[in-house]
Symmetry: C2
Subunit: 153 residues, 2 copies
């Protein structure tokens, strides 16, 4: 996919994410060592009904689906950032998260004619239909190369 | 630290983050498998002068410092989210990132008198004084327990 294919309102259902307790604990021990993420037996985890995933772990898991199903190696440039990242509800061991992306805006770059800026809404929804995470991703995406453009005209 | 200690404009220099090529590649293979993150020999990585870290990896590394030096197990509740996460410049193997946090705002919760909402600016700055990442974190933090409050009065 090149920039031209990111049409506003287009929706992509990406590969779902399966969350495991081992994955939650391992990620959190390395990067987010708070007891309600790392220790199922802790008072803090029990207060939440068991360990809950680090929000950064949920982001990382969703990113894998985003890379595989939404970005293309030929066109995806490093992202400048994310707006309004929200962790709405706990993510728990055994959760199956549907990952959906909607193109919000696609704007050609003014300064660099070879690319455009795509703004996308990412939502992760669990098996009980609760949106657990949402964000707006900003991505620089290359335009189709001139030969492909000529072929299409 | 309880809510009362997060005073606006207070600045915390957290534990610096050391970035390695093995860490960049391992994280990206699992969560962000784009060639400029995963494969030092790829054309894509060479275009950036070598592999660059997944933005989510930089977030996760900074989170560890944030948990260790800014949050307290007694008072930190799960975060509702992040605003204006920006990856300003590439993070590379060998980088040493200074992690600084500034309290922007601390507001008592209206609905839950046992806690407050802290907004914090997190910045990661590399050894060349380039800010590579910034974000505004939103955290729910417990207020000091009544006994401590009585002790202080």
């Amino acid at each position: 996919m090149y920039f031209e294919e990111y049409l506003p309102q287009r929706v992509f259902a990406l590969r779902p994410v399966h969350v495991t307790e081992a994955g939650i604990v391992e990620f959190a021990r390395r990067f987010d060592p708070q007891p309600y993420h790392t220790d199922p037996g802790s008072e803090e985890a029990r207060a939440f009904g068991g360990v809950i995933a680090s929000g950064w772990h949920t982001c990382a898991l969703a990113m894998r689906s985003f890379v595989e199903g939404y970005l293309s190696a030929e066109s995806a440039l490093p992202s400048p950032g994310i707006d309004e990242l929200r962790w709405h509800a706990p993510v728990r061991p055994g959760d199956e998260l549907a990952i959906a992306v909607t193109v919000l805006e696609a704007t050609p770059s003014r300064s660099k004619p070879d690319r455009g800026i795509v703004r996308s809404r990412i939502e992760a929804t669990n098996q009980d239909d609760v949106v657990v995470m949402s964000m707006t991703a900003i991505n620089f995406v290359r335009r189709a190369p001139p030969t492909a453009a000529r072929g299409a005209s």
